[in-house]
C-alpha cells in the first residue's frame, strides 16, 4: 500500500446510484414497451427511438455547449424522459412532432430550470400537453398501425372520448377484463394496464418508489367516480372504467411518482395523489378534454413546494 486514503466517515456506501435507479425505471417500463411494439409494430418502435435518442442528444448538447458542463449530463434520466414521452404519444405522431416534443421536454422544461433535479414540471408530461395544444389533430389521431401480432385495425375516438361526447351509456357494455389486458386505441402507454402494473410492482420490490402517491390517485379516482356513478350511472362513468382507461395507470405509476416533481414525504405524497385523482375526475367529467391525467399532474406539480413545506419527517425527541 503506497498511499493511504484518508477521508471522513462513513467509509461505505449503499449500492443504489442515480443511474441504477433510472435503470430500474427503464426495466420497469419494458413490459409496456414490448407490448406496445408487438401490437403497433415498426411505427411505434420509430416513435420510441426518435423520442429516446433526441432526448438524450438534446440533454448532452445543452450540457456541453450551452452550460459548458458536460459532466452534468444524465443520459439515464434523459432516456427515461424520452421513453415516457413516446409512450404518451399516438403511434402515428410524425417524427418531427416527436422531435419538437423532445426539444420542449428536455430543452425548455428540464434544462432551462438547471437540469436534473431542478425542474418543476415533469418534462414528458409537459411536452405531451405542449404537443396536444399545438398539434391537436395529430395528437388525437388514434389510427392503429400494423403490429407484429395483427389485430383488426380500427380507428376512431378513444373510449374516454366516446364517454365524453356521448355519455356513460356509450361505454356501458365494456368488458373490463379485456381493458385490463389489452386496450388498443390510445397511445402506446395505454395499451396494457397489466404490463404497466407489472412494472410498478417491480419498482416497489426494488424500493425505487413508495406506493403512496399511486395508491392515493387510484383511491381518489375510484372514490370520486364511485360517488358520481352511484348518483347517476347514465351520465357518469364508473370507477373501474375510470381506473383502467386513458393514461391513468401510466400517469399514476410512472409520471406522478417522478422524484423530482413529487413531494418527498409519504403523507405529502398522499395529498399530492389525492389532488391528482380529484383533478383527473373533474376534468374527465366536466372539462372540455376527454382525458385529464396530464393536466392534473402538471397542476399538482406546481403545489409540490407547498406540500413539502407542510409535511416533514417527525424529528427525534421533538413534538
Amino acid at each position: 500500500m503506497d498511499k493511504m486514503l484518508v477521508s471522513p466517515s462513513p467509509h461505505i456506501h449503499a449500492k443504489v446510484s442515480t443511474d441504477s435507479l433510472m435503470r430500474d425505471v427503464i426495466i420497469a417500463l419494458c413490459p409496456a414497451i414490448i407490448v406496445s411494439v408487438l401490437f403497433l409494430g415498426w411505427a411505434e418502435l420509430l416513435v420510441l427511438a426518435v423520442s429516446a435518442v433526441s432526448c438524450v442528444a438534446i440533454e448532452w448538447a445543452i450540457c456541453k455547449w450551452v452550460m459548458h458542463k458536460p459532466e452534468l449530463c444524465s443520459c439515464s434520466s434523459a432516456l427515461v424522459t424520452g421513453l415516457l414521452l413516446a409512450m404518451n404519444l399516438p403511434v402515428t405522431t410524425p417524427w418531427w412532432i416527436v422531435l419538437i416534443g423532445a426539444v420542449f421536454a428536455i430543452g425548455v422544461v428540464k434544462m432551462s430550470f438547471g437540469g436534473l433535479g431542478q425542474n418543476i414540471f415533469n418534462p414528458a408530461i409537459a411536452a405531451r400537453v405542449f404537443l396536444l395544444v399545438s398539434f391537436p389533430a395529430q395528437m388525437t389521431d388514434w389510427t392503429v398501425t400494423k403490429g407484429f401480432i395483427s389485430l383488426d385495425a380500427v380507428s376512431g375516438p378513444t373510449l374516454l372520448g366516446l364517454a365524453s361526447e356521448q355519455g356513460a351509456g356509450a361505454v356501458a357494455g365494456l368488458d373490463h377484463l379485456q381493458t385490463l389486458l389489452l386496450n388498443i386505441g390510445g397511445s402506446a402507454g395505454e395499451i396494457s394496464a397489466l404490463a404497466l402494473l407489472a412494472g410498478f410492482v417491480y419498482l416497489l420490490c426494488r424500493r425505487v418508489i413508495k406506493p403512496w402517491i399511486t395508491l392515493s390517485i387510484f383511491a381518489t379516482v375510484a372514490a370520486v367516480s364511485g360517488i358520481f356513478w352511484a348518483v347517476n350511472p347514465e351520465v357518469y362513468t364508473g370507477p373501474l372504467f375510470n381506473l383502467l382507461s386513458g393514461g391513468l395507470i401510466l400517469g399514476a405509476c410512472f409520471m406522478a411518482t417522478d422524484y423530482v416533481t413529487s413531494p418527498m414525504t409519504s403523507w405529502g405524497g398522499v395529498i399530492y395523489g389525492f389532488g391528482i385523482g380529484l383533478l383527473v375526475m373533474m376534468i374527465r367529467y366536466f372539462g372540455s378534454y376527454p382525458e385529464g391525467v396530464s393536466f392534473a399532474i402538471l397542476i399538482m406539480n406546481m403545489t409540490v413546494p407547498l406540500i413539502d413545506r407542510a409535511f416533514h419527517h417527525r424529528q427525534y425527541g421533538r413534538k
Binding site: 486514503l5 484518508v6 466517515s9 462513513p10 456506501h13 441504477s20 452534468l72 419527517h313
Partner: protein, 450 residues
Amino acid sequence: MSKLTFSIGGVHPDDSKLSKDCAIEVLPLPQTVYVSMNQHLGAPAKPLVTVGDKVLAGQVIAEPGGFISAYVHSPVSGTVKSIGPRKDLAGNPAVHVEIAVEGDEWVEGIDFSNDIDVNIKLDREQIIERVKMCGVVGLGGATFPTHVKLCPPPGKTAECLIINGAECEPYLTSDYRIMLEKSKEIVIGAAIMQKALGGCPCVIGIEDNKPEAIAAMSDAVASLPYEGIRVAVLAKRYPQGGEKQLINAVMGREVPPGALPIDAGAVVQNAGTALAVYEAVQKNKPLVTNVLTVTGNCLPVSAQHNYLFRIGTPISFIIEQAGGIPEGAAKVISGGPMMGKAIANLDATTVKGSSSVLYLSEESTRRWKESSCIRCGRCAEACPMGLEPFLLNRLVKAGDLEGLEAAAVMDCIECGCCLYSCPAGIPLLDRIRPAKGQVIGILKARNAKK
C-alpha cells in the same frame, strides 16, 4: 421474543462480521507504549509521572483534568521515556506518556484469577469511587467517563440501565466476542452498575444477527442470582447502538434535544464498559486492556483477529503482529465503517476506546461521483434523528447558519446514514459536520451577549 428497534430512519448495510469466529487472543507486549492523556471525552488528564520514573502496570500515571475527565494508568511496567505532544490517529497533537516496556510487573492488589466473583461487596459510593479510580470510560465509542454516568444529577433518577450489545457497526466483533467469552463477567458488571444506580431494571440489548451472543448472555443472566436483568433482542439495523436510538428501541422513549439520556430516565453503557466495571470492582483491575478487531474485506478470515491489547500499543505494532497491511487495502480505519476514523498516521497509538483496525479495499470504500440531487428523499428517510439532510446541504451551501439552527442541525449525531444512502453521491455529512461547528459558534456568541 419480539425484536425491538428504533422508530425513525436507519439503514441496513451488510453486517460483514467476518471475524466473528476468531476467539480473543492476547496481543504480545510491544517494546514501547504511548499512553494518550486525551483518550476520554472531556478535559485531558494531567500526567503525574516525570521522565525517568519507573512505573508498574496498573499504576496511576495521570489524574483527571476536570469533572468530566478520567484517571489514566500505565498499561505496562517500564520506564517513562518522554512526556509530550504526539500525533493521534487523525494527525492532531495530544500529550502522550512514552513508556519503554521492561518485563510485565503489576501493582499489588489486582486479582488475576479467572474465578468469577458473583458477590458484590462494595456499596454504592464505593462502586462509583472504584470505577473512577480505575479510569473506566465508555467503550462504545464516545469514551464518556463512566463514573459520571453512574451519578445522576440531583433530581434525576435512572429508571433503566441499558447494556449496549448491539454492535450495529458492520465488521466489528469485539463486543460479540466478549459477550460470548465473558458473558458472566458482563452480567455481573451490569449488576454492579445497577446497584450503583439504585437498583433500576437492566436490559441487555443485542442485535438479532448475533444469536450465539443472545444465547450466551441469556444463559449467563439465568445462571446468576441478580434480579431485574434481562436480554432484549434488537432488530439488525444501523444505528441501533446509537445511545438515543437504543433508548428509543428499549424504552420507547426519546431524549429531547439538548437533554441527556438521564433526563429520559436512561443510562446506557456498552458491553465492554460492563466488563471493565466488573474487572475494576470485583478484581480491582484498572482499565488498561481492551479488545479490538483486526478485520476487513481484503483480509482472509484466517488472518483476522480479536486481540486483547494493552491500551497505548501503537497501531503499527498491531498491524505488524497481524501480518502487515494486506494486499488491496486502500483505507485503514479505527472503528467501524460508518463512524470510524480513517487513520492518517499508523504510528498513532491505541486508546481506551479503540475497537478495531479495519482494512477496506478501494472498491468497497468508493463513493459515487457527486451529481445533482434528484429529490429522492432517501437521506431524510434514513436520518435516525428525523432531519432533512438535503435541506441542511442547501443551507450549508447558502451559508445560512440561522436556517441550519432552525433545521435542527445540532441534533445530527453524525451516524453517516444520509451520505451512505445518497444515490447522487452528495457528501451530505461532510458538509453538515463542519456546519455544526459554525452553528456552535453563533450559539456561544449569543449566550455571551446575554
